[in-house]
């Protein structure tokens, strides 16, 4: 027994005390990312400029540098809030789904959200001009359509998977695959019908970007995402129970089917809102929770908040790089999340494989 005990005692990197510090540390990292995002961009604004603008805002002094104000308050600030919210939501959604499916490969797109949102968005871009003066209304029509599409697709997936009052996770998976295929087909059809211009818009939308973050666009999305995130504490204990096994969770008093619907609905709403405003951003939903689970363990009481903070931080950093690597062009953020997430993930995977942990 003592031979095993040495290298087997809680094989996570941190000791008890350090684990208590983990969440504050992540929070600090996120704040750091926000500050970095605020101070970097295509325009060269000094930290002094930024504090100056905020100072004048708070003291109601007149703002003479209109352009700096526009950049900080109209462009960077909403973008940062959106980036943090989207990153947090995608990561938490991934963690929730990984628990429901009891599988580290689960992520938001397998329940059909991205496919539905994508199909609806592409349809809006292509058919939108057919509806005459959609013109600048496209700013609002597109996010609304994407959200509705994502939500409807997910509800469809669950409805299809429901057999005799029960909804097995494997059936949800298969149903999700089918709906995703349908969504892809619809997107392909729309893209065929599209003009050169529309095709470009579609491509850029699908690569994901936080560039559409105007206040008007993000406020509804932020509300939905924050609502989904604030309901997290409700889920933590029950997600732990689900990991025991559905039978065991049920015998411990969890109404398993109801809980699945609750989780899927929250994921659909949150991710739908995220995709609606920022397009399809991959990797955050699968890598962040998995990575953090390797570090903090499977207990969702820590994992969910950690995922939220980690996801927000990753996305904010990715966005900073996207905006500053080749100014004034902005790289598609999905590319960057993959570039940042994948190598780190591989390193951690190798490390823990050596220590004998699989999950």
């Amino acid at each position: 027994m003592s031979d095993l005990a040495e290298n087997d005692r809680v094989p996570f990197e941190l000791k008890e005390i350090a684990r208590g510090l983990l969440l504050p540390l992540l929070a600090l990292l996120m704040v750091g990312a926000m500050l970095t995002a605020m101070t970097h961009g295509a325009a060269n604004l000094t930290v002094g400029d930024i504090f100056g603008i905020f100072g004048r805002l708070l003291t109601a002094a007149p703002i003479d540098d209109q352009v700096a104000y526009a950049i900080i308050v109209e462009i960077r600030l909403p973008r940062i809030l959106l980036g943090a919210a989207v990153g947090a939501t995608l990561a938490v959604a991934g963690a929730v789904l990984q628990a429901l499916f009891r599988n580290p490969l689960a992520e938001p797109s397998i329940i059909g959200v991205s496919a539905g949102a994508g199909a609806a968005a592409v349809a809006t871009i292509v058919l939108g001009t057919a509806f005459g003066a959609l013109g600048s209304l496209i700013l609002y029509a597109l996010p609304v359509a994407a959200f509705v599409g994502g939500f409807v697709a997910t509800m469809l997936v669950v409805a299809i998977a429901r057999v005799g009052g029960k909804t097995p996770m494997t059936t949800i998976l298969l149903s999700g695959i089918a709906i995703a295929a349908l969504g892809s087909a619809l997107m392909g059809l729309m893209m065929f019908m599209s003009s050169d211009e529309q095709l470009r818009s579609i491509t850029f939308w699908m690569l994901g970007s936080l560039g559409g973050a105007t206040w008007a666009a993000i406020v509804p999305a932020l509300l939905i995402m924050c609502m989904a995130l604030l309901l997290m504490p409700l889920l933590t204990h029950r997600l732990n129970l689900m990991l025991l096994g559905e039978r065991e969770a049920s015998s411990l008093g969890l109404n398993v089917d109801q809980f699945k619907y609750l989780c899927v609905t929250l994921v659909a709403a949150g991710v739908g809102a995220a995709v609606a405003v920022s397009g399809i951003i991959g990797f955050v939903g699968i890598v962040v929770p998995h990575l953090l689970r390797m570090i903090v363990g499977p207990d969702h009481r820590i994992l969910l908040p950690a995922s939220a903070l980690g996801g927000a931080t990753l996305l904010l950093w990715a966005d900073v790089i996207a905006r500053t690597l080749a100014p004034p062009a902005e790289l598609p953020i999905g590319v960057l999340t993959a570039l940042l997430g994948a190598p780190f993930f591989l390193w951690l995977l190798r490390r823990t494989a050596r220590e004998g942990m699989t999950w």
């Binding site: 003009s195 095709l199 902005e330």
Partner: protein
């Protein structure tokens, strides 16, 4: 804790910013008078500014603004359809002229919300359209007189070309684009290509087709166009003259085998800027080699046809 006053100010600033950004207007209507730090987005607009001798008042341009050479030397703010609002604002402009094709809409909204004069200029694909564009730019920059003169010249150019064209315009042309990997896209009706081909006295190989659609060898053979046109950026992407020559639609069609394949500078041909009459005339020269087409343009600039395959 933020005091109530500060909170109100914060809310007020947000609300006013919101209201600014939620009133999308095509033209801000603010006359910029003697703007000296212009950001010009759209090749045709930049060309017009230079033609109006306003080149030294341009601060930055987008990546589609490649003519004249001086424009290439100016700082860039990104691609026409995927602008970064911050990138534009970083130039501290006092006037932003945007082609109506500029995007994305969110970035345009952010620019307008920043309070600087932003004017969207419609790009017309007809002689009248080009003249309106020139006049609108003149209006926006306070150079109405020069603009009127330039517009008149452009009008005259189109008129003289139209007069020189034969009565029966039967030459059919097909302009091809490449969308990366995958089939070639042919230009149908309601495209810039359709308009310039028509102005050059030609007809579309696929007049019933709307927009750019994928075309394979079979329909092209059936349509049997007289001329194949490739924009220069497409020609480069496909591997230059050799790459083009290897394409099925070139090696197996009558036009391709006879060498009636032309590469034309993309912005020159499809941009509908001040050189539009000359571009149309160049096409007419290809289509109707037996007719004398007048050389149009103030400086009688030689045509920007980059390449002509074969023994034409």
């Amino acid at each position: 804790m933020i005091s109530r006053r500060q909170a109100l100010v914060g809310v007020g600033a947000t609300v006013s910013a919101l209201s600014l950004s939620t009133s999308p207007v095509l033209s801000s209507g603010i006359s910029a008078g003697r703007a000296t730090k212009i950001v010009s987005v759209g090749g045709a607009i930049t060309e017009t500014l230079f033609a109006l001798k306003l080149g030294d008042r341009i601060r930055a341009v987008d990546t589609t603004s490649t003519y004249p050479d001086a424009a290439n030397a100016l700082p860039k703010v990104g691609y026409l359809r995927e602008l970064s609002a911050e990138g534009v604002l970083a130039m501290q402009p006092d006037l932003v002229l945007l082609s109506a094709e500029a995007g994305p809409p969110a970035a345009i909204a952010q620019l307008k919300a920043a309070g600087i004069p932003v004017q969207q200029i419609a790009i017309g694909r007809t002689p009248d359209g080009v003249r309106s564009m020139v006049e609108a730019i003149g209006q926006a920059t306070g150079t109405q007189n020069s603009a009127a003169e330039l517009a008149a010249q452009i009008g005259a150019g189109f008129d003289s070309l139209a007069a020189a064209l034969p009565a029966e315009q039967t030459t059919r042309a097909l302009l091809l684009l490449s969308a990366g990997a995958g089939p070639l896209l042919g230009a149908g009706a309601n495209t810039a290509a359709a308009s310039i081909i028509a102005l050059g006295g030609g007809q579309l190989a696929f007049p019933e087709m709307d927009g750019y659609k994928a075309v394979s060898l079979e329909p092209v053979l059936a349509a049997d166009p007289d001329w194949l046109l490739f924009p220069s950026h497409v020609a480069m992407a496909l591997g230059g003259a050799d790459g083009i020559a290897a394409l099925d639609v070139v090696s197996k069609t009558r036009a391709g085998q006879a060498g009636r394949v032309a590469f034309v500078d993309s912005h020159y041909l499809l941009g509908f800027g001040p050189r539009a009459p000359q571009a149309a005339a160049d096409l007419a020269t290809l289509f109707y080699p037996d007719i004398t087409i007048p050389t149009i343009g103030r400086d009688a600039v030689p045509s920007s046809l980059l390449g002509l395959m074969g023994k034409q």
